[in-house]
């Protein structure tokens, strides 16, 4: 048996209509009961429950100060020359991942932490487009002091 005939024969329509009605009635009743619970609690307590508000204590991060120290460690100074050459070869502004990739290929030791030092010393600074440039002003300032 197929089609509407099968639905009628097995009382499908009746089951569906009653079934979905019971689901609705159950959830409507539950919804109604739920909506009364807090009112009943209030009545029981004879007062409104005071809800604890979440404190908004915005504790500031212990932010690592951005280092713009002119005193650059010796090893970083040495590395900075090599990195400057690489940057000149790439061209400015340059993508930081490319500098890391190239420095690794050139066999420079610990390129990641060296780049980090150069960033902290602000010898490498971000431009406004997600790329980076060599801070010539700082370099000149350093060499003049």
């Amino acid at each position: 048996m197929f089609g509407f005939e099968a639905i009628i024969a097995h009382d499908g329509l009746g089951i569906s209509v009653i079934g979905i009605s019971i689901v609705f009635v159950s959830l409507i009743l539950l919804s109604f009961a739920v909506s009364r619970i807090h009112k009943l609690i209030e009545l029981w307590d004879k007062k409104y429950t005071s809800y604890q508000r979440v404190k908004k204590t915005q504790q500031k991060d212990q932010k690592t100060p951005s280092v713009s120290d002119l005193a650059i460690p010796q090893d970083v100074q040495r590395a900075s020359r090599q990195f400057k050459l690489l940057i000149e070869w790439i061209g400015e502004p340059f993508p930081l991942p490319k500098l890391l990739d190239l420095s690794g290929k050139c066999g420079l030791s610990r390129p990641h932490s060296t780049v980090n030092e150069l960033l902290k010393c602000e010898l490498i600074i971000p431009d406004e487009n997600g790329y980076y440039v060599w801070n010539k002003q700082l370099e000149e300032k350093r060499s003049s002091t």
């Binding site: 099968a6 329509l13 079934g19 979905i20 689901v23 159950s26 539950l30 619970i37």
Partner: protein, 376 residues
């Protein structure tokens, strides 16, 4: 010696396998791939996928290895599926894990969980129309509830031989929520509706949270007693969570217990999909109807939310209606995702949890009703 070797070789999987085993093994691998690489419900799909591999290694009949052979290891573990032990235990874990407060804060959203169950009954009619007997049609319809344990629970009662395909269909569609639901949601809503911001829910007191599982259980189970195993465990688990004094029990229910049962259920459901049971024309019908059921459930939730907006003073975002299909919390996350595509500062996740959770209750009641009618 030669005979022994020939006999051994003729009993290996290579000799016993036919093309259907290979197809099912490939299906199993695909399901594992979806779980691992695409991360669609990995906690479910990985055990089910591997279970499919286990169940489809060809073995000698009556050797006590197959899942359908009494006395085999798999058969013992499968007992928990066929005798409805695992689904209520999973509901216990869900109860101990789930926060009902968004639903308690705005109970009217529970109606969306009811509306989504329309998919179940529509598909029941569809399955009857294409020739499935009523008990099987009811089991197929429940796929639209998007709740694996409920689907297994009802199928084990009404059509045990369909547990494999129905469970796999239910879990697959649950996993594919992010793929199936968004187009339906977008189709049925305007941009203006998708941009509706929901009002902040009120805070719900601890007392309310403790009273709710008791009231909810009594009310639902007096109305639909057949839902007792599922809803009893769901509300009990929630009471464990909310009453705080039995935190150890709540923690066990929401972590170790639900994980253990998920492993056992997943592997055995997967293993039950043996080629001769699974690769039938009927299974194709089950999958097609399951998808239909799921789509109708999603659409019904969204449309009902729009209808509610005709009467509500403070409008609700109709996208949250789609979360009425259960699949907690995936469909709520999909609602958040679709809503944020229109407005990245609109947060619907918390609001969608209300119909999402009431959908779990609704689908359990729907299953209970179908079971009652089929047993009459």
């Amino acid at each position: 010696m030669e005979n022994l070797l020939i006999e051994f070789l003729s009993n290996t999987g290579f000799a016993l396998a036919d093309y259907r085993n290979i197809i099912m093994i490939l299906v199993g691998i695909t399901i594992i791939y979806l779980g691992v690489a695409k991360q669609y419900e990995p906690l479910l799909l990985v055990p089910i996928g591997f279970g499919m591999l286990i169940g489809n290694i060809p073995v000698i009949k009556d050797f006590g290895l197959g899942i359908y052979e009494s006395g085999s290891f798999l058969n013992y573990v499968y007992y928990g599926v066929t005798h409805d032990i695992y689904p209520p235990l999973i509901f216990l874990g869900i109860g101990a894990l789930t926060d009902f407060s968004t639903m308690l804060a705005r109970p009217v959203l529970m109606l969306l969980g009811a509306a989504a169950q329309i998919g179940i009954f529509t598909t029941f009619l569809g399955a009857l129309a294409i020739g499935f007997p009523p008990n099987e049609a009811a089991s197929i319809g429940i796929i639209g509830g998007a709740d694996g344990p409920t689907a297994i629970f009802l199928t084990a009662m009404l059509a045990p031989r369909l547990i494999g395909p129905i469970a796999v269909a239910a879990y697959s569609y649950m996993a594919l929520v992010p793929v199936i639901q968004p187009p339906i949601m977008r189709l049925l809503t305007t941009r203006k509706e998708r941009l509706i911001r929901m009002e902040e829910p009120r805070e719900v007191s601890k007392k309310e949270k403790i009273i709710f599982p008791i009231v909810g259980f009594l009310l639902c189970c007096f109305l639909a007693p057949a839902a007792l195993p599922l809803l009893g465990m769901l509300f009990f688990g929630n009471l464990l969570k909310e009453c705080v004094v039995v935190e150890r029990l709540a923690k066990t229910a929401r972590t170790s217990l639900i994980d253990i049962v998920t492993i056992l259920l997943g592997v055995t459901v997967g293993a039950s999909t043996q080629a001769d049971v699974f690769l039938t024309r009927q299974s194709i019908g089950i999958f097609a109807l399951g998808a239909f059921s799921f789509a109708i459930a999603t659409a019904a939730g969204v449309i009902f939310a729009k209808i509610m907006n005709l009467f509500l003073r403070k409008k609700i975002n109709p996208l949250i209606g789609a979360a009425g299909v259960s699949a907690v919390p995936n469909s709520a996350r999909v609602v958040q995702m679709v809503g944020q595509k229109e407005d990245p500062t609109n947060f619907l996740l918390m609001h969608a949890m209300a119909p999402n959770i009431s959908g779990v209750i609704g689908s359990a009641i729907a299953a209970a009703i179908l079971w009652s009618f089929m047993s009459l």
